[in-house]
C-alpha cells in the first residue's frame, strides 16, 4: 500500500494553493497530488486563449516539474480517484493503485453539463474544460469556417470571442434573454451583447435548442422559434457541475457539490473539499452555494490546507462573493459582489452613453454589497475586501459614491500600516 500524509486530488488553483500553504508550515510531511490530466497543471480559465492561439499549451504551466521536486511533492498525472474508503483512510485510483492518507483534500473541479437536447448524443460536438478539449477545438477550428456556441455563460462567451479571433463566423444560442445571466445585470449584459453583435457574432437570445442533428460536414441546430442554424463546429457551454460518483459509499454529504463547513471540512473525518467541487457558505445568505470562480478556489484551497496542517493563523471562510472581471473585444466589465438590487439595498448608478461606460454601487446599511462597472477603471480586489471586511462607509459615503476608486484605495492603504 502506498502511503502519504497529505493526499490532494486535483492540481488546479485550489489544489496548488493547498500544496503551497501546507509547505509554509509543514516542510517535511509527504504530499501526493493526483491529477486526471496527462499534462502539468494549467488553469481552465486559460483554455479559450489556447483555442484562439494566443496562449501556447506549453507556456501556461502553473507549476513546472522542478517546483514539485523542490517542494518534495509527488505528482501523479493521468490518474484520478474512483473510490474512497473513509474508515481505512484509503483511496483507489483509476489505475488500480491504492493510497493510504492521513488527510485528504478533494479539489477535483467540475465537468461540463451536457444538456438533454434531442440528437446531441449523435452529433459530434466540443466542450471546453481540459487542455485536450482546447487542443481538439483549436485543431477543428483551423479547418472550420462557422461555429455554433450553445450557452452565453463565461465559457461560451470567451469561447465564442476566441473562435471569432481565430477567424470563424460564430453564432451564440442562449435560452435566457441576456448574456452572462447571474454574473451581470441586464444593463451591463446589453452593452456586452452590443459589442458581440458589432464584432460580427450572431446573438440568438431567448431561444432554446429543440433539436440538433449531424450534417455531412458539421451540424444543424433547430431553435424553439423554428429557426435553424448550420455550422461546421458545435461548442456546448451550458455550464459545469462536479462529478461526484467516486464518493459513493462514503458519509460525505452532497447537494450540487460536496457540502463543507467554514474550514472546508466535509462530513467525513480527515476529508476536506475546495474549489469548484465544493458547496460552501455564501457571504450574503445563510446557505451553501456553488461558486465556481478562480479567486474563491484559491481562498478555499488555502483555508482547507491551513486546517489540514493545523495552521494557527487559520481564519474561517467568510463566504463566497461572486466576482467577475470580464474582458471582451478590448472592453471590460467588472462585477464584485451582489449585482442585482433588492428591496434592502440602496442603488446608485451612473451611465455615460458616449463612452459606453457605466457604474453601479449597491449599499446596505452603508456597507458595500456590490459594485459593477463597464469600461470604468476599477480595483476589483479593493472592492472585494471592502465587502468582505464589512467596512462601514458612513464617514466617507459621499466621497465613495463620487470616487469609488480613489476612496477605496485610500481606505485599504490606511490598513497597511
Amino acid at each position: 500500500m502506498n502511503q502519504t500524509h497529505y493526499l490532494i486530488a486535483g492540481a488546479s488553483h485550489a489544489g496548488l494553493e493547498a500544496v503551497h500553504r501546507i509547505r509554509l508550515i509543514d516542510e517535511t510531511a509527504s504530499i501526493t497530488v493526483i491529477t486526471r490530466d496527462a499534462q502539468l497543471p494549467y488553469s481552465p480559465t486559460i483554455l479559450p486563449y489556447v483555442v484562439s492561439g494566443q496562449s501556447e499549451p506549453d507556456r501556461v504551466v502553473l507549476r513546472n516539474a522542478d517546483y514539485f521536486k523542490s517542494q518534495d511533492v509527488n505528482l501523479i498525472t493521468g490518474n484520478e480517484l474512483i473510490a474512497i474508503d473513509e474508515a481505512a483512510q484509503q483511496v483507489t485510483l483509476k489505475s488500480g493503485e491504492q493510497w493510504h492518507y492521513e488527510k485528504l483534500l478533494l479539489a477535483t473541479g467540475a465537468d461540463p453539463i451536457i444538456p438533454p437536447i434531442p440528437g446531441l448524443s449523435e452529433t459530434p460536438f466540443h466542450v471546453l474544460r481540459t487542455m485536450q478539449d482546447a487542443i481538439n477545438l483549436r485543431t477543428h477550428a483551423g479547418n472550420a469556417k462557422t461555429a455554433i456556441v450553445l450557452g452565453a455563460g463565461l465559457i461560451g462567451m470567451h469561447g465564442a470571442e476566441n473562435l471569432r479571433h481565430a477567424g470563424l463566423d460564430v453564432s451564440i444560442v442562449e435560452m435566457c434573454d441576456q448574456v452572462l445571466p447571474g454574473y451581470f445585470d441586464n444593463q451591463a449584459a446589453s452593452v456586452i451583447e452590443v459589442a458581440f453583435n458589432s464584432n460580427g457574432i450572431h446573438m440568438l437570445m431567448g431561444s432554446g435548442v429543440v433539436k440538433v442533428e449531424p450534417l455531412e460536414s458539421g451540424c444543424q441546430a433547430t431553435l424553439e422559434n423554428g429557426q435553424t442554424v448550420q455550422a461546421d463546429l458545435l461548442l456546448v457551454a451550458t455550464g459545469v457541475k462536479p462529478k461526484l460518483d467516486y464518493l459513493k459509499g462514503t458519509s460525505i454529504q452532497i447537494d450540487q457539490g460536496i457540502l463543507v463547513d467554514r474550514t472546508m471540512r466535509t462530513d467525513a473525518a480527515n476529508i476536506w473539499a475546495a474549489g469548484d467541487v465544493a458547496q460552501a457558505a455564501d457571504f450574503y445568505k445563510d446557505e451553501k452555494v456553488m461558486m465556481g470562480i478562480l479567486p474563491n478556489a484559491v481562498t478555499q484551497g488555502a483555508i482547507a490546507a491551513m486546517d489540514m496542517a493545523e495552521d494557527e493563523a487559520l481564519q474561517p471562510y467568510s463566504g463566497g462573493v461572486p466576482i467577475n472581471t470580464y474582458t471582451f473585444f478590448g472592453q471590460q466589465a467588472i462585477s464584485v459582489g451582489q449585482s442585482v438590487a433588492d428591496e434592502q439595498t440602496e442603488t446608485l448608478s451612473r451611465v455615460d452613453d458616449d463612452n459606453q461606460s457605466y457604474l453601479k454601487i449597491l449599499l446596505k446599511d452603508n456597507q458595500l454589497q456590490g459594485i459593477s462597472s463597464i469600461n470604468e477603471e476599477m480595483d476589483a480586489g479593493i472592492m472585494w475586501q471592502l465587502i468582505l471586511r464589512k467596512i462601514d462607509l458612513t464617514p466617507v459615503k459621499d466621497a465613495f459614491i463620487a470616487q469609488p476608486l480613489e476612496t477605496g484605495r485610500a481606505l485599504m492603504s490606511s490598513t497597511w500600516r
Binding site: H13, E17, L24, S43, P44, T45, I46, Y49, Q54, S55, R59, V60, V61, L62, L294, P295, V298, I323, T325, T327, G330, Q332, I334, V336, N375, E377, M378, D379, A380, G381, I382, W384, Q385, P395, V396, A399, L405, E406, T407, G408, R409, A410, L411, M412, S413, S414, W416
Partner: protein, 443 residues
C-alpha cells in the same frame, strides 16, 4: 531565504508637499515618455476626511495573491529580486490579478489595454529620486539580513528584555558582527539585567562575559586586553554599557581608558536613564523628560537640566573612532561597527547608540524603530562619526529636519511638555547641531 529591497512611504512627509505629484510624473515619464498620470504605476490618493495621503502601489507582497489568481503564469514572484514580474507575452488581459490585490498595486491601463504594475525600475526607482520631501525612500537594509543571517547570534534565545526592547536588538546585532573572539563586559544595567550574564550558574552569552562594577568597566577591560596581548592572542575587548554606567558612575574609568587610548570597543546603549532599576534620571536624560526622579507635578515639570552629550565628550578625548548610531538606520550602524572594530585594534573606539525605551519612555512596543527614526530626522539624535585627527562627518543629512515635536509626540515621557519647554528643547537641538557643524568645519 532572502530579504528584499522595498520602497517605503512616509505620509507625514508626503503631506507637506501639497500634491506635487512629482513621483507620479516621474513614473509616467520613465514608463511611457509622457507626463500623463494614466501611465504612472504609483498613485497618491488624498487621505480620507483630511487624513494623511495614502498610496496605491504594488507592495511586492511576500506571498502575493495576484500571482495565485493569474491563470496564464504571466505574473511571477522573482526569487532573486522579490519583485513580482509581469510578462506581457503571456498575459491574456483577464484582470483576475486585480481581484487578488488589496492595494490597487496592479491596475488596468485603458489606453494600453493591459495591466501595469511597479517593477521598481530595476533597483533604481524613478519615483524615489523625484520625491522632493523624502516621503518615498528606497530601503536597502534587507542586505543586512542577506549578508549577516548565517552568522551566529552569540546571545542565547530567551533573554528577558521588555517587549520591543531596542537594547536587545543592538546587543544581538553588534556581537553577531563582532564575532566569537570577544571578551564582553556588561556593567550593571538592562543588558545584564535581561540575563546576558546568565542565571543560576549558566551564561546568557556564547562568548566569555563578565559583570564588572559600574565604576570599573573600562579599567577591567583594559587589563584583560593587555593580558591577552601579552599571551599573543587576538581578542576584541568589548563593552556593552548603559548611558548611566558609562557617562555617570563609570565615567572616571571610561575617560581614563580613552585618554590612555586602550584597545577597547566601547558601545553605549543610551536609553536616557537608569531604566533597569526603575527609570531614574541620568546625566544623559534629556531636558523635560519625565522619570521617577524628575517627576511631573506642580513645581517640577520633568528634568529641569539639559542632557550632557557623551558622544561629543568622547570625541574630545581624541579617541581612534567615535560615532553615534540608530537602529532605524541599520546599514549606517553596520558600517560604523566595521570601522570601530578596526579602530579598536589600534586604540579606543566608542559607539553611542540612541536606544529609546518603550517601557521607560512610555510608547507602544511596536513603535521603537519609529521613535529611533524620528529622533534622527528631527536632529534630536544626529548621526555622525569622527576619526582621530580628522573632522566630524555627518552620516545622515541634518538639513531640513522635522520639527522636534514629531519626535517628542511619540513618547509619554514628554506628554506634559508645555510651549516654553518645547521652545527650549528645539533651541537645544538647534544649538547642538550648530556645535557639531563647527566640528565638521561647516560654519
Amino acid at each position: 531565504m532572502t530579504a528584499y529591497n522595498t520602497i517605503a512611504f512616509d505620509p507625514s512627509r508626503c503631506e507637506s508637499c501639497n500634491n506635487c505629484d512629482a513621483c507620479i510624473t516621474a513614473c509616467a515619464q520613465i514608463k511611457s515618455g509622457t507626463d500623463d498620470p494614466l501611465h504612472s504605476r504609483i498613485k497618491i490618493v488624498a487621505g480620507i476626511n483630511g487624513n494623511q495621503p495614502e498610496l496605491a502601489l504594488c507592495r511586492q507582497c511576500g506571498d502575493p495573491e495576484c500571482t495565485k489568481s493569474c491563470p496564464s503564469t504571466s505574473l511571477t514572484k522573482n526569487e532573486q529580486t522579490g519583485i513580482i514580474d509581469w510578462n506581457k507575452s503571456l498575459c491574456i488581459d483577464c484582470l483576475l490579478c486585480t481581484v487578488g490585490c488589496t492595494y490597487g498595486g496592479i491596475t488596468y491601463n485603458m489606453t494600453l489595454k493591459h495591466v501595469a504594475k511597479c517593477d521598481m525600475c530595476d533597483g533604481d526607482p524613478a519615483c524615489v529620486k523625484a520625491c522632493p520631501t523624502g516621503a518615498l525612500t528606497y530601503l536597502t537594509s534587507a542586505n543586512i539580513f542577506n549578508e549577516q543571517h548565517e552568522r551566529e547570534d552569540l546571545f542565547v534565545p530567551g533573554l528577558s528584555a521588555c517587549q520591543g526592547c531596542n537594547s536587545e536588538m543592538i546587543m544581538r546585532h553588534s556581537l553577531r558582527k563582532v564575532g566569537p573572539d570577544t571578551v564582553l563586559a556588561t556593567p550593571p544595567g538592562c543588558i545584564p539585567g535581561m540575563g546576558s550574564v546568565g542565571f543560576n550558574g549558566t551564561t546568557g552569552t556564547k562568548v566569555p562575559v563578565f559583570h564588572p562594577l559600574l565604576t570599573n568597566t573600562a579599567s577591567m577591560l583594559a587589563g584583560l586586553k593587555k593580558q591577552y596581548n601579552r599571551m599573543g592572542r587576538k581578542v576584541t575587548a568589548m563593552a556593552l554599557a548603559g548611558d548611566g554606567g558609562a557617562g555617570d558612575v563609570g565615567f572616571q574609568s571610561l575617560s581614563g581608558a580613552a585618554e590612555r587610548n586602550e584597545q577597547i570597543l566601547f558601545i553605549v546603549v543610551d536609553n536616557e536613564g537608569y531604566m533597569n532599576t526603575g527609570m531614574q534620571a541620568s546625566g544623559s536624560t534629556s531636558y523635560g523628560s519625565w522619570t521617577t526622579t524628575t517627576p511631573v507635578g506642580t513645581e517640577m515639570k520633568g528634568k529641569p537640566t539639559n542632557q550632557k552629550n557623551l558622544a561629543m565628550i568622547m570625541m574630545n578625548h581624541n579617541c581612534e573612532y567615535v560615532a553615534t548610531a540608530s537602529t532605524a538606520f541599520v546599514e549606517d550602524y553596520y558600517e560604523k561597527l566595521d570601522k570601530a572594530l578596526e579602530a579598536s585594534e589600534r586604540g579606543f573606539a566608542y559607539l553611542h547608540i540612541y536606544s529609546p525605551c518603550p517601557t521607560g519612555w512610555r510608547f507602544p512596543s511596536s513603535q521603537t524603530i519609529e521613535v529611533c527614526r524620528k529622533g534622527v530626522e528631527t536632529n534630536f539624535a544626529p548621526l555622525w562619526e569622527y576619526e582621530r585627527g580628522g573632522e566630524l562627518q555627518f552620516t545622515h543629512s541634518i538639513d531640513n529636519p522635522l520639527p522636534v515635536e514629531a519626535y517628542l509626540n511619540l513618547s509619554g515621557k514628554y506628554r506634559h511638555v508645555n510651549e516654553q519647554q518645547l521652545a527650549h528643547i528645539q533651541q537645544e537641538v538647534n544649538d547642538r547641531v550648530k556645535t557639531l557643524k563647527r566640528f565638521a568645519g561647516l560654519n
